[in-house]
Amino acid sequence: MENRIPGSTWIAEGQMVPLLVLCICVITFVIATWLTRRRRLRPIPGMVLLRFLLSQAIEARSRIHLALGSGQIGGCSTIETMAGLTLLDYLAKQSVLCDIPLTVSVADPTTLAAAQGILRRSVEQSEHSDSLPSASVHFIAPDPIAYASGVAHLIERENPALDVLIGTYGPEYMLIGEAGARRDVSQVAGTTSPEALALMYPTADETLVGEEIFALGSYLDCPAHLGSLMTEDVLRIITAGLILIGVLFCSLRS
């Protein structure tokens, strides 16, 4: 109660600026979603290769492995995990439609529940809802190093044709990346951690850098995601403009 801004009713101290930023984001999002019907997406090398490798694996009915990283739902890494789950939603539908073997590895029980829910929903929504899903979710371990070791073993054991790693990763990524590189598995990896990105670059065929993982839905035939992608672009331009104005202002003043 003592933290309220003087003159305001309930707003906590120091939260006025974040609230304003959120309001700007909401307005931009609503306008962008309303305006976006069809939009030409700029090609991202990681997305182009991912689509190509996915279609190749689907055509050949080869095993696809999706590792959702050591993140969970309900913590700091929720959004990265959600990005991985968006890809899982697409892969699960393809897996049911074309009978492609799909292996999903998770590190947290909350992610396990979400992944199993997505797989079950994709089976229910398909015409062959009585058929057994050819996809399976493996809970490895909540500890990042134990998770990476488990996934490395899974890659060596199941020998997938395509290995997609989207989610929360740290330096332990090397254990997974090297296991895939040793077996010559096509790999596409993406995360938001700069430390892990530096390690992903040499081992993966293509890397999705930072916010590119949040654009996955838009590139995987999910029109509902286009609005948020446009919002991201608009907000990025506004942020860059504000930084430039700040730099100019400080430079001229000094």
């Binding site: 984001c25 959600m82 396990l112 997505i118 081992t203 948020s228 991201e232």
Partner: protein, 202 residues
């Protein structure tokens, strides 16, 4: 109906937590606290689901006598021993801590130490690539490595300042760009969920 109900629950819970972040009020704080406690309880229940998944996956491997069934057997036995020990003597007991201190942490440290060798092989692979990025990566790595050596200024006077510049300008700006992009992506993904544009839970 089920889909709409899930969407309503998710949106109301999301908005309540968001309001709790901005507003200082006893009722709002209490609602936020209850929802966070609820999330923790659900996460606890999910752990049980994880345990069942582990037992199901590895139990099947043992039952079907697959090639690596001994590894699965070791995992199941370790899991049950840890579970029973924790249940019998408590998580703060000496025997339980002994297991972590003398079994789990050494194994973790051993695997962690392997990362250095993996980084070297990955770096070798990266430097072999015949692309502009690989050339830049190699060049920058060589400069930074040489500048780390004590007395590197004797090799070339500008080596330490060049290293400082690499860290403070290109590396920092690149990292900030990634962090800002991630923050924007986080906001838009959150809004997508709140506004029912995307319903992964339904």
């Amino acid at each position: 109906m089920r889909k709409a109900l899930a969407a309503i629950v998710a949106t109301v819970a999301g908005l309540a937590i968001l309001i709790d972040f901005f507003v200082e009020h006893p009722i709002v704080d209490a609602v936020g606290g209850i929802l966070i406690d609820g999330a923790l309880i659900i996460a606890g229940c999910a752990l049980l689901l994880g345990l069942l998944n582990l037992l199901a996956v590895h139990g099947r491997r043992i039952q079907e006598r697959q090639g690596d069934r001994m590894l699965s057997l070791a995992l199941v036995v370790s899991l049950l021993v840890t579970l029973l020990l924790g249940r019998a003597s408590g998580p703060g007991s000496t025997s339980f801590r002994w297991m972590f201190q003398y079994v789990y942490y050494p194994i973790q440290a051993t695997i962690g130490s392997l990362l250095a060798f993996f980084v070297v092989t990955a770096a070798y692979r990266a430097f072999r690539l015949h692309t502009l990025e690989a050339v830049v990566l190699t060049g920058v790595s060589v400069i930074v490595l040489l500048a780390q050596i004590p007395g590197s200024e004797k090799l070339w006077t500008y080596l330490p300042p060049l290293r400082e510049w690499i860290f403070s300008v290109p590396v920092t700006s690149g990292m900030r760009g990634i962090i800002m992009g991630t923050a924007l992506g986080t906001i838009t993904t959150g809004l997508r969920l709140l506004f029912w544009v995307d319903q992964p839970y339904a």
